[in-house]
């Protein structure tokens, strides 16, 4: 039993190697054999840790109410965000906790299969999970079967409909869902998709109860969460923090620059947060008025010496390249936005026109894709224009900042791949 107020929770007992099943049961205690109940999840108030923060119990209830005796639970450990390392850290510490949670969810919704999805570009993670699943199979007396799937690594491949599309039809492309909530299906079988960290929390709630879970965090967003901090920090880390702590405290623990210029919250589809708001609580209801969110638990620290526009431009360029190119507004609009940002950052005479065009295009693209990929980029660009407004003014007037002439960047954007080399299946 972990003491209620102590941290880490999901990273408890980490030894640097993934815990074996025996070590895992010693560290966390055995899973209760009682009939699993949705009410337990409901009263815990757990929300999804993959970015959307949707209540896990409500999603499980929706899938539980569907007909079908062949349902799936999909554990999403794809980690499409280049700045996120939390699923990797979690699975290289406690893979069995994730599988425990997935198994519990499977029993709640009546699923027979658990499909663990991890990107094939990360062989170490694949190896860890393969071992863990194999270990379970040997000790198994269970009605739930585990299978490991390895889709290609793409930004949008971790989006739930793209992931289910891959499991169904071997294509990591998002699907069109006109009505929400939408029940995703593999063949005819309903699918419950949950992030790996969410599953780990479920594994703890199943053991120790909802009240234990609520002892950390705020009443509206209880529990702890994993945060990947990178950028201007001593070294990029993954921390487990209670929700609702001040952002400044997280930065201190990560050894970040004490006087940053801005923070990118929530990942590449997230929003910039001005450093004036460093004392805001790290929870969605406190961050929402500032146009920001916890997202997938990513903080990128931008120091005073960096240029927010350049970082945004690099991220937008990469995100445009990662578009699945299914929807016109995303396939053509995101490169156009990236071009506008590039024109804004180098001092050409057309910078003022580029700024106006950029604002128009952001409005034109929003909400017109099948998935939220273009909306994320629009949110990022809009927040950049707002947070760095004085800076943008300088760039438009042709007074490019010193940082834009240096080659040092703070967001570790992967190198662009050529369009014909992108692997989708």
């Amino acid at each position: 039993m972990i003491a209620p107020e102590s941290l880490p929770r999901v990273l408890h007992g980490a030894t640097g190697r993934p815990l074996t099943l025996a070590q895992h049961e010693e560290a966390f205690g055995p899973m209760p054999t009682a009939t699993p109940s949705l009410d337990l999840l409901e009263s815990s108030g757990l929300t999804g840790r993959g970015g959307a923060a949707f209540p896990t119990a409500r999603k499980a209830r929706l899938i539980g109410e569907q007909r079908g005796h062949n349902k799936f639970v999909v554990v999403n450990a794809m980690e499409g965000e280049p700045a996120a390392h939390k699923d990797r850290t979690l699975i290289s510490a406690n893979p069995h906790l994730v599988l425990d949670g997935a198994q519990y969810l499977a029993r709640v919704v009546g699923a027979r299969h658990v499909a663990v999805c991890v990107s094939r570009d990360d062989p170490i993670m694949v190896n860890h999970l393969q071992r863990a699943v194999h270990e379970r199979d040997r000790h198994a007396t269970r009605a739930v079967s585990f299978e490991l799937h390895t889709p290609p690594w793409r930004y949008v491949a971790g989006e739930e409909s793209a992931l289910v599309h891959w499991l169904d039809d071997n294509e990591s492309l998002p699907q069109y869902r006109p009505r929400r909530p939408h029940v995703l299906r593999i063949g005819h079988a309903p699918v419950l998709v949950d992030n790996a960290e969410t599953c780990a929390h479920v594994g703890l709630i199943a053991r120790y109860g909802a009240d234990w879970f609520r002892r950390l965090g705020t009443p509206t967003s209880p529990g702890s969460t994993l945060v990947s901090v990178s950028g201007a920090v001593a070294r990029p880390t993954v921390l487990e923090v209670p929700l609702g702590v001040p952002v400044r405290a997280i930065l201190e623990r990560a050894g970040a620059d004490p006087d940053p210029q801005a923070l990118l919250m929530g990942g590449y589809g997230g929003a910039w947060l001005d450093a004036r708001h460093l004392d805001v609580a790290y929870a969605n209801d406190a961050l929402a008025p500032l146009g920001s969110s916890v997202g997938a638990g990513i903080i990128i620290v931008l120091p005073r010496s960096g240029c927010g526009l350049i970082e945004t431009q690099r991220i937008a360029r990469w995100m445009a390249n990662e578009s699945a190119r299914q929807c016109g507004p995303c396939a053509f609009g995101l490169p156009a936005i990236a071009d506008d940002l590039a024109r804004l950052t180098v001092d050409t005479p057309g910078a003022g026109a580029a700024y106006d065009r950029l604002v128009d295009r952001c409005g034109a693209i929003e909400g017109r894709g099948a998935c939220r990929h273009p909306d994320g980029v629009v949110r990022l660009v809009r927040s950049a224009l707002q947070v760095f407004s004085a800076h943008v003014e300088d760039h438009v007037r042709g007074r490019a900042c010193a940082a834009s002439r240096s080659n040092h960047h703070y967001s570790a954007v992967p190198t662009l791949e050529r369009e014909e080399e992108l692997v989708w299946e």
Partner: protein, 80 residues
């Protein structure tokens, strides 16, 4: 007799994955659809009352005229 009550409204919806930007919808239903700079449709999002027969008819033309069959009319009943 024979009087149909046209309460509620409709919206024209596009499946952005199917849509290839032929632009027929913007010609067939110019009041509901205009195209963006890349030729993809931008559709009026607020429901149009079903009593607006001209708009409904043009929306139907747009649905039938779409080469990719990406358009759909959906009734919304909360307009009354």
């Amino acid at each position: 007799m024979g009087v149909r009550r046209r309460a509620g409204g409709f919206v024209l919806l596009v499946n952005p994955i199917l849509c290839d930007g032929f632009g027929h919808c913007a010609e067939l239903a110019p009041d509901l659809v205009h195209v963006d700079e890349w030729g993809y449709p931008v559709i009026v999002t607020e429901p149009v009352p079903l009593a607006n027969l001209a708009a409904l008819e043009s929306a139907r033309y747009a649905v039938r005229g779409c080469p990719r069959q990406a358009l759909r009319i959906e009734r919304v009943s909360d307009a009354h």
